[in-house]
């Protein structure tokens, strides 16, 4: 036999064996198709059409259960021929659910993309149900399970369809349907909706963070609009928090339609956050100036960043948005412009010297880098891509009269600190250290207090008497409460970090002015 004959022989024998061993299921098919067919669709229609109004979700959960029953057995017969996916519809609240839908809007599959979604889907089997029925059931289940209420009311609907116009139409329809469902459920909902098209980077991000492509698209927009936000932290947040962040930080989201308003009922609110910060600083509406309040997120915790100025000091507080706890506080002597002779000609920063002459030019803001540019300069120096940097902070400061951006960020278990010349973008100083400090062991211990910390710092520097602290900061660093201090004396500049519980000096840096 030649090769071809052998191939033919093999295939012939294979076919014969399969023919011979194929079981006969004809009778089961006949009974199956006879009993299943009339039941399935008629039942769904009956339930959905007869009892729609008042409490839609209760009814529809029952309908979904009925669908589950019917499809559960192997005897559900599709009238639908079209098994091809026409649209992909994603529903994000915190539960993330993806449905594939065919041309006649029958659900081909419904997939839970996170654990919350598994709870919502429970043992509903939406396969074969119409998209409307499925949406009704899902929203109902989310209301029932407390994922949507007055405290967190935002829903994101994402539609993907090759035909953009069709996708947009479906988006609009689903959006108003969901709005109606929420109204029926006595919830003032905020519905965000968008269409997406296949995008390799987005799918990759979605996969990496275990979120829907729709949510990934939303998060990517936020991160691109505001370089201090990072993807990893935002990916963990429910849609309501993302919605709140966007509006608090005044980020316009491209291609996302909004109805209603995100509820901040779960949070203390900006006014209360301001009160807490003011009380701590001893400030009042009369004394505080340049007040700025912005929502932020740090490792899944929502915070209000409250910034203001009182006299010669600038204050910054991070107030936990849920509890009102102050998580970070900082008081800094107000940046002073390089006006006097102090400091000029004495820069010892590891920068070559044109900084001094340029310092004089930085009176106008026009010659200064933006926060984004400064951050990018630091990131590219560190070789860290923006996507992988988190806990970013950028502050403008004056160092020996030179305008400097102080930049901090974390990436890959490393903490980076940079000082970037605000005029030239030059890296003046940088430091990176392992990000693995153990969390504070003194869970039940007593905080030593800022004054004690200052005393410890002065002792270490061998100083006594009245020393002006230009920076006093109290913050959690990887779960450990620390004080960060900066002060100047006798032409020297000191920077140190002190453990707030043990009083241990964690880092020490001193820099001669002359």
């Amino acid at each position: 036999m030649n090769k071809k004959e052998k191939n033919q022989e093999i295939e012939r024998r294979l076919a014969e064996e399969v023919q011979e061993t194929t079981p006969d299921v004809m009778e089961d098919v006949l009974t199956g198709s006879r009993t299943a067919e009339p039941m399935a669709e008629d039942k769904i229609r009956q339930i959905t059409e007869t009892k729609r109004p008042r409490k839609p979700w209760k009814v529809v959960v029952a309908a979904a259960a009925a669908v589950a029953l019917v499809t559960g057995g192997s005897v559900f017969a599709y009238r639908q021929i079209n098994n091809g996916v026409d649209s992909i519809v994603q529903l994000d609240v915190n539960p993330s659910i993806e449905m594939k839908v065919n041309r006649s809007e029958k659900v081909l599959s419904a997939e839970a993309l996170n654990d919350d979604a598994k709870e919502i889907l429970g043992n509903m089997d939406l396969k074969g149900a119409s998209l409307d029925v499925a949406m009704n059931a899902l929203i109902g289940s989310m209301l029932q399970n407390g994922y949507i209420d007055e405290l967190a009311n935002s829903i994101l609907i994402t539609v993907e369809n090759k035909d953009a116009a069709k996708g947009a139409a479906l988006q609009e329809r689903l959006s108003s349907e969901v709005e109606q469902l929420l109204q029926d459920g006595q919830v003032n909902g905020a519905v965000l909706s968008q269409t997406t098209s296949a995008d390799g980077e987005l799918s990759e991000l979605a996969r990496q963070y275990g979120i829907s492509v729709g949510k990934a698209a939303l998060v990517r927009q936020l991160v691109e609009a505001d370089s201090l936000l990072d993807f990893a932290s935002l990916a963990k947040l429910p849609i309501n928090d993302l919605n709140l962040l966007a509006s608090s930080r005044k980020i316009a989201l491209d291609g996302v339609s909004f109805t209603g308003q995100a509820s901040n009922g779960a949070y203390i609110g900006e006014t209360k956050a301001k009160e807490i910060a003011f009380q701590r600083a001893g400030a009042t509406d009369a004394t505080a100036a340049e007040l700025e309040i912005e929502l932020d997120c740090d490792d899944g915790v929502m915070l209000y960043e409250v910034e203001f100025r009182v006299g010669g000091y600038k204050y910054e507080y991070d107030v936990d948005a849920s509890t009102g706890e102050i998580r970070k506080e900082e008081r800094k002597a107000r940046p002073t412009q390089p006006t006097t002779t102090q400091g000029v000609g004495t820069t010892t920063a590891p920068a070559s010297d044109p900084t001094e002459s340029s310092a004089a030019q930085t009176t106008g803001s026009s010659g200064r880098l933006t926060v984004d540019q400064a951050l990018n300069a630091a990131l590219s120096h560190a070789g860290v891509s923006a996507q992988w940097a988190y806990d970013k902070s950028v502050e403008l400061d004056y160092d020996h009269g030179v305008a400097v951006y102080e930049i901090e960020f974390h990436s890959a278990a490393t903490e980076y600190e940079y000082k970037i010349d605000a005029a030239t973008g030059e890296v003046l100083q940088w430091k990176s250290e392992e990000d693995d400090r153990p969390a504070s062991t003194s869970a039940g211990g007593q905080e030593i207090g800022m004054e004690k910390a200052k005393a410890l710092a002065l002792e270490r520097a061998g100083l006594t008497g009245d020393v002006r602290f230009v920076k006093e900061k109290r913050e959690y660093d990887d779960g450990r409460l620390i004080y960060e201090l900066e002060f100047r004396a006798n032409g020297m500049e000191y920077e140190c970090e002190i453990d707030a519980m043990s009083g241990a000096v964690l880092s020490w840096d001193s820099d001669g002015d002359d």
Binding site: M1, K3, K4, K6, N7, Q8, E9, I10, E11, R12, R13, L14, A15, E16, E17, V18, Q19, E20, T21, T22, P23, D24, V25, M26, D28, V29, L30, G32, S33, A36, E37, S74, V75, F76, A77, Y78, R79, Q80, I81, N82, N83
Partner: protein
């Protein structure tokens, strides 16, 4: 009834008893004709079963999927648009159902038991040559290879149609097909000796 396939055997390589169901049957099934369903079933069931088996690798699951394929087909027949490929269309249903079952495979009722596909040597002396070929295909071929060979041998689909059905490039299907047959020739060299 299976043997009006002489032409297709010439057209491509060995496509034995390749079913070429009449599209009209689907229209009749849509009207509720049991007779048409029986006719279609008789002609296509081996291809459906073989394909399901090549994906699922166990006879119980394959039988379930075969049954579901025809039940679903009854419901879907009315929407079938004649395009000259009823076999490929039916096998698409089978593919979807089988893949669904694979995805749920944690729940597979009947685990893939090796005993179901005995070593060739055990069969070699039992005189059951055909069974030997099937067992070799089940044991020796990679999943993609087995599906391609099965479709080619049993359903009579062309490589082009197989590529479409399995959502693989034509060139990939061809190279996998040739590699698979090379493996089988080697495995079965004793049987094919002359």
């Amino acid at each position: 009834m299976f043997f009006f396939c002489l032409t297709s055997a010439i057209a491509e390589t060995a496509a034995h008893s390749a079913p070429t169901p009449d599209e009209g049957l689907l229209a009749e099934i849509a009207q509720g004709s049991e007779e048409a369903l029986r006719a279609l079933y008789a002609e296509t069931s081996a291809a459906v079963y073989g394909f399901a088996l090549s994906i699922l690798k166990n006879t119980h699951d394959a039988e379930d999927v075969m049954q579901d394929t025809y039940i679903r087909l009854c419901g879907a027949a009315s929407a079938y648009r004649p395009e000259g490929k009823p076999m490929a269309w039916i096998l698409t249903i089978t593919r979807n159902l089988a893949r669904m079952r694979l995805r749920e495979s944690g729940k597979t009722v009947y685990p893939d038991t090796p005993e179901q596909w005995p070593e060739e040597t055990a069969l070699f002396h039992s005189g059951s040559d055909d069974r030997l070929v099937l067992a070799a295909a089940m044991r020796r071929l990679a999943d993609d290879e087995r599906q391609i060979v099965m479709l080619h041998a049993v359903s009579g689909l062309k490589h082009r149609e197989i590529a479409a059905l399995l959502e693989q490039p034509m060139s990939t299907v061809l190279s996998r097909y040739h590699r698979a047959l090379a493996k089988l020739r080697r495995e079965l060299s004793g049987m094919l000796a002359e």
